[in-house]
Amino acid sequence: MAVQNPNATTATTRHGALGLSAEDLLEMYSHIALARAIDERMWVLQRAGMVSFVISGQGHEGAQVGVMWATDRQHDWLVPFYRSLAACLTKGMTARDLMLGLFARHGDPSSGGRQMPAHWAHAAHKILSTSSPVGTQYPHAVGIAYAAKLRGSGELCVVSIGEGGTSQGDWHEALNFAGIHRLPVIFIVENNRYAISVPQRLQMAVDDVAVRAAGYGFPGVVVDGSDVLASYEAGREAVRRARAGEGPTLIECKVERLTAHSSEDRQEKYRPTADLEAARSKDPLVVFKHYLEQVGVLDEARYTEIHNRIKAVVNDATEYAEQAPWPDPATVGRHVYLEG
């Protein structure tokens, strides 16, 4: 593992030009690596029959951490989708939080075990509750942004979806409304070229969904989602626009789905092996690691330290969740309406 540019200075590196320090990079890297480690553990647990369902974000983490890093992670909103594991971590959810959801235990902050795993929510971290019907979250995000603007709160809202979800009417309606009112919202499309098995060519007649932004009166940009810094840069500009009252930005992150759609799916049936192999070369974790090594931010000692810490965190979270109590069946009827 050769560190090619050990003396890279702020001025000459890409991250330096973006104003990111070595510590920033390591923190970003740690988030991506933690997301990946949790995610991989989830599949192991599912294969072992410990939990019944997994859907995950492997391959999407770089784009998520990159964009989210540009936001105010306390103050701003996130309206996630089921692959937003890394974004939720970045926003403040913990490995224990995520594992409690996977095991569907009482303490699951997303839904108390009422929803399938990966239906994230956390009120304290301003992560709106996720549902399953694809597309509905886009109008919600726009409503949050409208409220932020009307109330002058200075918040912005990040919302995510897959490219498949852009086929839904709700997606269009939301972008149109946000454009009209120049709302502080960042529309992310995590384009992994498949909606379950349906390839992009049967989902849209264009290469880049980002071109649609022009039809709503705001910019649409395409970024390589395996490039964390490019994602950060796009996020930073979108944040600037939102804060300046210039309105929404659509960011299309080209990412790869490194796993099957979910634990219910067998992608060999529809996805060529070559396609999957090509995808692996775009693994953001690997790509970012290489960059950090190249600029001398990550060496073997650091790497080992980070990954040991992550392993401990994932082990702790798994054990914690496994031992956590189940929801009380008597609570099945609660919280249909406000209790009081």
Partner: protein, 329 residues
Amino acid sequence: MAEMRLIDAVRQAMYEEMQRDERVLVLGEDVGLKGGVFGATDGFYAEFGEARVLDTPLAESLIVGVAVGMAANGLVPIAEIQFSDFIHPAFNQIVSEAARMRYRSNGAFGCPITIRAPYGGGVEVHGGLYHSQSIEAFYAHVPGLKVVTPYTPYDAKGLLKAAIRDPDPVLFLEHKRLYRSARGEVPDDDYLVPIGPAVVRRQGTTLSVFAYGQMLHETLQAGSQVAEEGIDAEVVDLRTLRPLDTETILASVRKTSKAMIVYEDNRFMGFGAEVAALIAEEAFDALDGPIVRVAGPEVPAVPYSDPLAAAFMPTAAKIADAMRRLAAY
């Protein structure tokens, strides 16, 4: 205290709530300068400005979806659906999102929105298949929602204020025929009519009739008609369809031993089915006759042409006939 029409009471309720609480806003098609196609927000635009009296694009799913997001971030939206017939594109946002936000987040997020929708038909409505529909049956089925439909201007103001202040999503259905025909005293001050309780509009002993909206008007007329024949109908205004006031319903049936439900919607799986099923299970021992439903026919909606519309509608005459038959059972 002023005599006013139901539409004026609706308007007054919203106006007062918007003055009282700056988090309240209205959104929908043509609610701005035009003041709504029925005038419910007439004058609001000048008073509260474009940001709180928000003319939306023509997209009902958006209207509700945006309201859900607004509510999550501290506003109290009142979404107007121009005609209840056009609420269907928002079905997913209402059923999957608004109604489930609290349950699915284990109580962490709420959804304090009000959705107003003018509904219902009749020969005078001239609405045809897509401007006459009764939609309460679809939504009354949905846990997490509340469904309200006022009959008097007094109730319209008090119930709408209660809906706006309710921490959960309320579908507020206003019958178009009542907008101008229902008149009554409405206090100028702030008052609430609680969501939930039904009210007995006519005391009686022969049989109990349950109705709401415009059909309550027909039922009360029918009640007067048969009263001369010695049939003393008790008429109950359900007002809130979800949660349903089962106590008042069962108490009335226990008193009269006979039950009828009147609704304008097509009969099969219409709201009367639930009322009948409730009574058949909980007050069977008190029953002294079949539970009768008087409702619209099994066609997709109210046709436009006058003779067809007339053939569709349950009328006081039809209801009176059904009362006679049930009384004679």
